[in-house]
Amino acid sequence: MKKRLALFALILLMVVTTACSSGSKNAGGSSDDKGDSGEWKPDKPIEIVAPSGAGGGWDTTARMAAKMFNEAGIIDQKIGVVNKEGGGGSVGWAYVASKEGSPYNLFVSSPPLLLVPLNGQSKYDHEDFTPLANVIADYAAFAVKADAKWDNLNELFDDMKKDPSSITVVGASAPGSMDHIQFIKIAKAAGVDITKIKYVSDQDGGALTSLLNGSVDVYSTGVAETVEQVKAGKIKVLGVTSEERLEGDTLSDFPTAKEQGIDATFVNWRGFFGPPKMDKAAVKYYEEKFKELSDSKEFAEVREKYGWDEMYMDSEEYKKFLDEQKEEIKGLLDDLGLAK
């Protein structure tokens, strides 16, 4: 109770101080507000929630950001990463949603923040939180066995148009979630009847196995998951969902869907959010800090190491981007009859 009271008092104090200073900030102009007395600064450790178990994409992003913030000296306060696993993210989101107004509880997220609520499995979606900044982008890859008869996406989609029942797509997530939707989006743009696509979900790590032993035909996954298998000559990537070819060894060999004449992309964006009703001054603080992080050479090395793309958006851009993405995904789910 004491802790909560203290926190409440702190928040109250902050609200009061920022409310008082907001006038002066506006007067000071938005271009340069360093030295502004109303600026918010963390005065205790910051917590970043990864709404998944340790070791996944969210966890890696959160931990790397936390580490680089401190190593590059961008934020001096300690940053702790906490794993809140469960419900495809909804457990972690519910936790952060309960921290209304706190500028010390951030979380990392990606398209599931839109998909999971649309599938009816979380009562919180991106509109309930305060978008701070998007940081990186990752892309989907569609792979087939190395000796498969298709050499590009158009050959595959042509066969799918002729006989949709002959081709099975596998992914590691449930229907209506990322691995499924990313494939649907590209297939739709190519003119395939998406209601006829056979999608199998394998959530116990067997998706790649099923592809390798020929049980299924196409593996819808992230770009990074395919690289080692391609290098070993086990699978080939028919297409990736980025705007332009990716950079890097092996990665640059993957053709985009766009260059194959299919006008669609899918971005696995990853960024940071705060609890509902986070204070504007704190949002501004984090926006700037994430920008600094994104521009730092330390984080550039991290991006290179994990094969991520740079994709910075500030709070406002991010919000707009998410609203658009949500509409788009909702349309796809409606077509599939999966929207709830």
């Binding site: 890696t60 469960g86 049980s215």
Partner: protein, 503 residues
């Protein structure tokens, strides 16, 4: 020769000061965590991941591997001493381990499990060392229809696990299958049998059911029978096996290690199926199958050899293909990615230090575990010397902590209590609980594999017979199911009195 060259390189890493230290830390942490019901290897490794940031990847993986097989070692203790299996791999160990402890042979049961684990672990590492690249093909030979057949084969154990009425065992198994359907369905994303309760979206956790049906039900029985002065439970007994006993379990450990390793190689199958299959096959092979479930030493040696061998087998797909074979190795794979190593078919060439370092460290880790565990047995089993009132409270506390540590949800505690009551009622009306738990463990995976197969085949059941592996296993499964039923029909006809008893 490449193998030996690689092994030498591996031992250089594993025997370095840092290597030895982290293998030691890994196996100690693994054993301790394995002993506490509720803290399985997945939790342990997830806790380790943040510690490994910035570590040399080879050292980080050998630390996590140590935790992994260390937990498989330690998992037997709670099963044998408290009838509280902390992981699904350790369920089969309770069947004969706990009766042995009740009869005052806790020391022997624990020694058997330690030795069985050592044998299983060592045999699987040797196979891993020499056959990993060859076995990689086996690892990917199973698709959805084959997995369905394998799970169904595992389910036939229900018939073997039933004492007395097969019908009761089947009812119990059916309830288990029903419980497995609770939660979000992976193939459609629909919530099933959740009654709008968000706590049920993830399904019911294994621990809730296992600790409820086994441990809490046992506690209730202990309370009810508190006046009886029967048990020898307060004595631990000798650790030593007689020559005859050693002779009896040696072939068991050998063959079940092989079986366990092979099942472990298959991604997704893992230690649970391996331990159940080992238990059942050993019962079938035994000349005195009626002794199983009442404290047969082979009933402890078989699952313990198999589940440890399976944890070694799970490294085959992980190291040679970059495919995780179990939930725990999936977490390890994630940790490797965080450390900047993308595991895949080229791991052995690109990062021989990681590949061979881990394998070499497992030889050392297994020896360390045996040296650590054997002398500890008298101390661990002292828990039985605790006065019964205290022991009972202790078991309840362990169960509650275990369940709460998984989900941090009080709803699960009510469920635990519910399953405890159910388990006790089932005991009173003589319904076996093991088939329910087994069906629950296998049911979820079996259903997914079944529906994946049917999606692939556009709804045609022929997919299950066109694959020779699947067809073969299905045939064995049906035989295993039918033979006992026919047998019991025959014996019932011969003995109508028996019929009345079981009805």
């Amino acid at each position: 020769m490449d193998v030996f060259h690689g092994l030498i390189q591996g031992f250089e890493i594993a025997l370095s000061f840092q290597g030895l230290m982290f293998v030691f830390i890994g196996v100690v942490v693994g054993t301790v965590i394995g002993m506490i019901p509720g803290l399985g290897p997945i939790t342990a490794i997830a806790v380790m991941i943040p510690i490994t940031y910035g570590m040399d990847p080879a050292i980080a993986l050998l630390l996590m591997a140590g935790v992994y097989y260390g937990a498989a070692y330690g998992g037997a203790a709670a099963s044998i001493l408290l009838n509280a299996p902390g992981t699904s791999e350790a369920v089969a160990t309770t069947f004969d381990g706990y009766p042995l402890a009740k009869q005052g042979h806790a020391g022997k049961a624990l020694a058997l499990s330690a030795i069985g684990s050592f044998v299983g672990g060592t045999i699987s590492i040797i196979l891993l060392t020499f056959l990993a690249p060859t076995l990689a093909k086996v690892a990917v030979s199973f698709g959805p229809p084959e997995y369905f057949a394998l799970m169904l084969l595992g389910l036939t154990a229900i018939a073997s696990l039933s004492e007395g009425s097969t019908i009761k065992a089947l009812i119990s198994g059916t309830i288990g299958l029903m419980i497995a359907t609770v939660g979000i369905d992976a193939q459609t994303g629909t919530a099933r049998f959740t009654f709008g309760n968000a706590h049920l979206l993830e399904g019911i956790d294994f621990l809730v059911i296992a600790l409820g049906l086994f441990a809490l039900a046992e506690v209730a029985s202990l309370i009810k029978n508190r006046k009886e002065k029967a048990t020898n439970m307060h004595s631990v007994g000798s650790l030593k096996l007689t020559k005859a006993e050693a002779k009896e379990v040696a072939p068991t450990m050998g063959r079940q290690s092989l079986l366990g390793f092979l099942v472990g190689v298959l991604p997704g199958a893992g230690g649970t199926i391996a331990s159940f299959m080992a238990y059942i096959s050993e019962k079938k092979l035994s000349k005195n199958p009626e002794k199983f479930g009442k404290g047969a030493i082979r009933g402890v040696a078989a699952p313990e050899s198999a589940n440890n061998a399976a944890s070694g087998g799970a490294f085959v797909p992980l190291l040679s293909l970059g495919i995780p074979g179990s939930g725990t190795t999936a977490v390890m794979l994630g940790a490797l990615i965080v450390l900047g190593i993308q595991p895949g078919p080229l791991l052995m060439n690109d990062h021989p230090d990681v590949f061979w370092g881990v394998i070499a460290s497992m030889y050392i880790g297994n020896i360390l575990l045996l040296i650590l565990n054997l002398p500890l047995i008298p101390y661990i089993s002292r828990i039985l010397l605790v006065p019964r009132q205290l022991l009972i409270s202790l078991i309840i506390v362990f169960c509650i902590i275990g369940v709460y540590a998984v989900s941090f949800s009080t709803f699960d505690l009510y469920l635990l209590l519910g399953f405890g009551v159910l388990g006790y009622v089932m005991r009173v009306i003589k319904f076996p609980a093991a088939p329910m738990l087994l069906a629950f463990i296998l049911g979820g995976m079996m259903e997914q594999a079944f529906r994946q197969s049917l999606t692939i085949s556009n709804g045609s059941l022929s997919i299950f017979v066109t694959s020779p592996i699947a067809a073969g296993m299905l045939l064995v499964a049906f035989l295993a199911f039918l033979v006992p039923i026919i047998k019991s029909r025959k014996s019932k006809k011969n003995d109508p009195a028996e019929n009345n008893k079981s009805a």
